[in-house]
Symmetry: C2
Subunit: 206 residues, 2 copies
């Protein structure tokens, strides 16, 4: 039971979790949420139903949940940005990096599509998004030497950056997609970092 | 059938809708969403079940839906701000005004609480929030002389302002409430308008 074995066991557990989540999403996309059972998901990932419940409370959580290790990766990515970089920049760069990873982007696109198709996924999906936002906010607070309970700014900063990502993605999905998503995202982040001064144009009288 | 009668009929219809929505929220708060029927809601508002379905598709929509006239009011409030005022300011002032109306604030607080208690309300609630955001974005686009389909900025601007309101409200609800909500909201909007430069402090090395 040397300390060398723990990371291996951790990696194996993480692998099982990813296999289960991938199977849950694939089966839901193929057969619809109602038709998929926990037994089928466990089968597809070569584990028992009992093992499934070591990782997830229900099939909905397997489809849209975000794993503790993913939350840790998000949080670490924000902390690993150069010290001295503004918190907003650190957060934006972290999310741009996620968006530019094709595998990651595809995973998030499938997840959004499934949530759109199956409203029963909404409660778990929103809970997962809240987990992501809280993990990011904790890192922002750490960078700023403040804490989440006494200072509202980290929570608000993360909420607005995440909402910009979501709104950009949604706008782009409904557009003719003539402009690449990453370009629209970069423009959106510029507008946010500039306090939306870009839109302080003279307006005509009504 | 003079043109004078139309506004009166409109007002009467709006009154019925408000009565139904108020009854739906009150009954849900008292008895729980599952126990409440459309017939009870219609009874409480002194109309028939058939009339209920002229206004709403289901009881969930009666609890969390936003009426067309409320959407119009939000949109008009943004357009009615002084021309020459930046779009971000016009939007913020509109929402601050809503938040400072005690009746309005209470209505939104009850709605959030019911959504938290009954996840079955989530799909209709999110649809209603999307309606509000789209109405606000249309007004922002009109102020900027642009349109929603070719320019992502109005959609993104509205999403970030609304998310700041939501995050502030959520942070404040979980805080000890020592600082008034409107003060936290004003600070949050200042941070947003400043591109979150307020948090560009020197950070210590990790």
């Amino acid at each position: 039971m040397g300390s060398e074995t723990a990371p291996l066991r951790e990696r194996k557990k993480e692998r099982t979790r990813v296999d289960l989540a991938t199977a849950a999403r694939r089966l839901t996309a193929e057969h619809g949420l109602d038709a998929v059972t926990v037994a089928q998901i466990a089968d597809a990932a070569d584990v028992s139903v009992r093992t499934f419940f070591n990782y997830f409370r229900c099939k909905e959580e397997a489809v849209v949940g975000v794993s503790p290790s993913s939350l840790r990766e998000f949080a670490d990515a924000v902390l690993d940005r150069p010290s001295g970089e503004p918190a907003l920049t650190a957060l934006i760069e972290t999310l741009l990096q996620t968006a530019s990873d094709p595998e990651m982007a595809e995973g998030w696109e499938l997840r959004s599509e499934l949530v759109r198709l199956y409203p029963a996924l909404l409660p778990r999906h929103l809970a997962a998004m809240a987990d992501v936002e809280e993990a990011l906010a904790a890192s922002v607070a750490e960078r700023l030497g403040t804490d989440l309970s006494s200072d509202p700014i980290p929570t608000i900063l993360v909420a607005s950056v995440v909402s910009v990502v979501r709104a950009t993605f949604s706008w782009w999905t409904h557009s003719d997609r003539a402009v690449p998503l990453t370009d629209v995202l970069a423009r959106a982040f510029d507008a946010l970092a500039g306090g939306f001064a870009v839109v302080d144009v003279e307006v005509s009288a009504r």
